[in-house]
């Protein structure tokens, strides 16, 4: 019984919200407030979704976009981690790159697209670079916050036990920073996902962004909406998977802000 009540409490309110939106959408279409071209009905969108699912073109586009996101995200994470670690273990190294990082942090990645196309062409490198630029900074800032904000009192405990710099880093600073690092990764992943769609709309012949743009050019608003829904769903799914993994990793340690 308790279990049933829990599921009811957890899933009932969100389902009501989704149902309300679908009903509103349906009613607007039914009353023909907008033309079917501007806002196709839920049934039409569902039908397109079904066709794209069966033909496999949806999976192909999703797969390509996800692969690009993972590649750019992984590179950004590794670099953000290394630079963050440098700042924690060798604080004197910080000033050498900190201002450059802060400069580029304030430059929107999309404004660099013209340059990136000029330098890297319209191939995969440009898209990887855009994802890198979008996800690197939130991760870097959170990693640095986690590493440099380590409680001095805990570091002294390691010092008393004769810890080397490396031991202090791996046994105190890194675990202490894990919550901040994971928050940064989650934000970075969200940013990557937004950036890839924009990048694919500008310079690509595959992927979800391209699919949406192509559908718009073909006047297939239903396909555009399918694309938007899929982006939202994939983004939500990756975020949930991430939250689940974080919950597992930080389990029992202390209260974390993840649900």
């Amino acid at each position: 019984m308790k279990q049933a009540a829990f599921w009811k409490k957890k899933f009932f309110p969100p389902l009501i919200g989704i149902a309300a939106l679908l009903i509103l959408w349906y009613l607007i279409c039914r009353m023909e407030i907008f033309s079917a071209y501007v806002l196709p009905s839920p049934a039409k969108v569902l039908e397109s979704f079904r066709k794209m699912w069966i033909s496999g073109e949806l999976f192909e586009d999703v797969g390509i976009s996800v692969a690009r996101v993972l590649k750019g995200f992984a590179i950004a994470f590794v670099l953000a981690f290394i630079l963050g670690m440098l700042r924690a273990v060798f604080p004197a190294a910080g000033p050498y790159f900190e201002y450059l990082v802060q400069f580029f942090r304030n430059v929107p990645p999309l404004s660099l697209i013209p340059l990136l196309i000029l330098w890297c062409g319209i191939g995969e490198t440009t898209k990887t670079a855009i994802i890198f630029l979008a996800s690197f900074f939130p991760m870097y800032l959170n990693i640095v916050k986690g590493f440099t904000g380590c409680d001095r009192k805990l570091l002294e405990v390691g010092e008393m036990f004769g810890y080397s710099r490396g031991e202090s880093f791996f046994r105190i600073i890194l675990p202490y920073a894990s919550a901040d690092i994971l928050v940064g990764m989650r934000i970075g992943l969200g940013y990557s996902w937004r950036a890839i769609i924009a990048a694919e709309m500008v310079a690509a012949s595959t992927g979800l962004g391209h699919m949406i743009l192509f559908a718009q050019q073909m006047s297939r608003t239903d396909k555009v909406i399918v694309g938007i829904l899929v982006i939202g769903l994939v983004g939500l799914a990756t975020d949930r998977i991430f939250a689940f993994l974080i919950g597992k990793l930080l389990k029992g340690n202390y209260e974390n802000g993840w649900d």
């Binding site: 405990v157 008393m160 036990f161 894990s178 930080l250 202390y254």
Partner: protein, 237 residues
Amino acid sequence: MAGIEIRDLKKSYEVDGRQLPVLKGIDLTIPEGRITVVLGRSGCGKTTLLRLVGGLEAPDSGEIRFGASHRTAFVFQEPRLMPWLDVTRNILFGLRGREAEPGLVKDIIETVGLSGFEKAYPAQLSGGMQQRTALARALAYRPSLILMDEPFAALDHFTREQMQQELIRVQETENCSILFVTHSIDEALLLGHRIVIIDQGQVERLYDLEDEGRQRDLLEDRFIHIKREIVAELKGQ
């Protein structure tokens, strides 16, 4: 020479552009295998002395000479446990790979009365249990010298009493040296082989309680007498 020799130890801190002397030339011998209690009012420099002996800070001048090779553990005023480690792993925190003998943790957990909480995280423990874990972590390190900075200050009367007895027992079995800082006169009288009164950054007086045995009744006349003397000393009379 055994124990620790402290000679003319000075330390000051810069506060708002001015040098604030905290230790003004401490001379002290800390005997080996004994509990030396440093007693004084808040802000008299007790903690600074402990941090200098522990090597967490460097003195402005003077020297601290250690007798034989030493292995030092520090029990801080706060437990300072790693929140992401359970009790067992917190206790093993000071040890590297193969240093942990099998059964060591079990014995220590029993000693400090934490049986059944081996897998608990610090956030799930009471303040007293956290402090006991911190003591266990220091003991697991098998130190020859334990520095303790008012470790029982945050505990209730009964837990504190129990921990004090435990400390006396552990010191006797391990025969380690303990430098114990407190502002509680009763605690000093109960634990110390030797009591060092520090006031305004200088050693004011030493009390040698070597002959008093380990089970002390502080309501006995001679302890009441010493307590009166110490109170007068600290009040500056």
